[in-house]
């Protein structure tokens, strides 16, 4: 039983590593934000599997918090960083 959870955890780590490519190559900042959202979800999945693997129930609460915080990051990004494009088309730096 444990070998199954270990392989699943390992594969999830692999998908995390793959997500890094998108962060490195992503043309727009929105792509990087999407990859960050994917990291959040993969992290939640990984934490749930590890909670079962190492018999540590606390990890499930960590997964819950991570799922919430991953959304907060995207919300902050959409609300603050990625405002409506100004007329002259220059990248509007976030309001200090």
């Amino acid at each position: 039983m444990t070998w199954l959870l270990e392989t699943v955890a390992l594969l999830l780590l692999l998908t995390l590593a793959l997500g890094l490519i998108r962060i490195w190559r992503g043309p727009t900042i929105a792509d990087r934000m999407l990859a960050a959202q994917l990291f959040g979800t993969t992290g939640v999945g990984l934490l749930l599997v590890l909670a079962e693997l190492q018999q540590m129930p606390a990890l499930r609460d960590v997964a819950l918090v991570l799922a919430l915080l991953a959304v907060m990051a995207v919300l902050a990004f959409v609300a603050r960083v990625w405002r409506r494009e100004p007329e002259d088309g220059t990248e509007e730096d976030p309001p200090t």
């Binding site: 490519i21 934000m33 979800t41 999945g45």
Partner: protein, 105 residues
């Protein structure tokens, strides 16, 4: 007893498969909108199958409920986040990718 383990293995591997597909989709798709599509796929199905796989092995009811709670939160989270990013992208005038003009990277 074996059947449950087999079912659990199947569900967990399917969940990881969907995560992999979602990540691959994010890498391969040409523009933001399609990547959001791939991302929410990985979130909902990948995490859902993993949670169901773990649900079979959950030793008590509260643990099972907590697993479902995490999945529900992830569902809501990825849906709203995907929508918000898509709307923000649309507002910034990011035109969806069309097969004709290849260069719209």
């Amino acid at each position: 007893m074996i059947l449950i383990d087999l079912l659990q293995a199947l569900l967990l591997l399917a969940g990881v498969g969907f995560f992999f597909v979602g990540t691959l989709g994010i890498l391969r798709f040409p523009d933001v909108y399609t990547r959001i599509h791939a991302l929410t796929k990985a979130d909902n199905l990948g995490l859902g199958l993993i949670v169901f796989g773990l649900l079979l092995g959950a030793d008590s009811i509260p643990v099972a409920l907590k697993l479902l709670l995490v999945w529900g939160l992830a569902l809501l989270a990825s849906a709203t986040a995907g929508y918000l990013v898509a709307r923000a992208a649309r507002r910034r005038g990011l035109r969806p990718w069309k097969a004709r003009n290849w260069g719209n990277g």
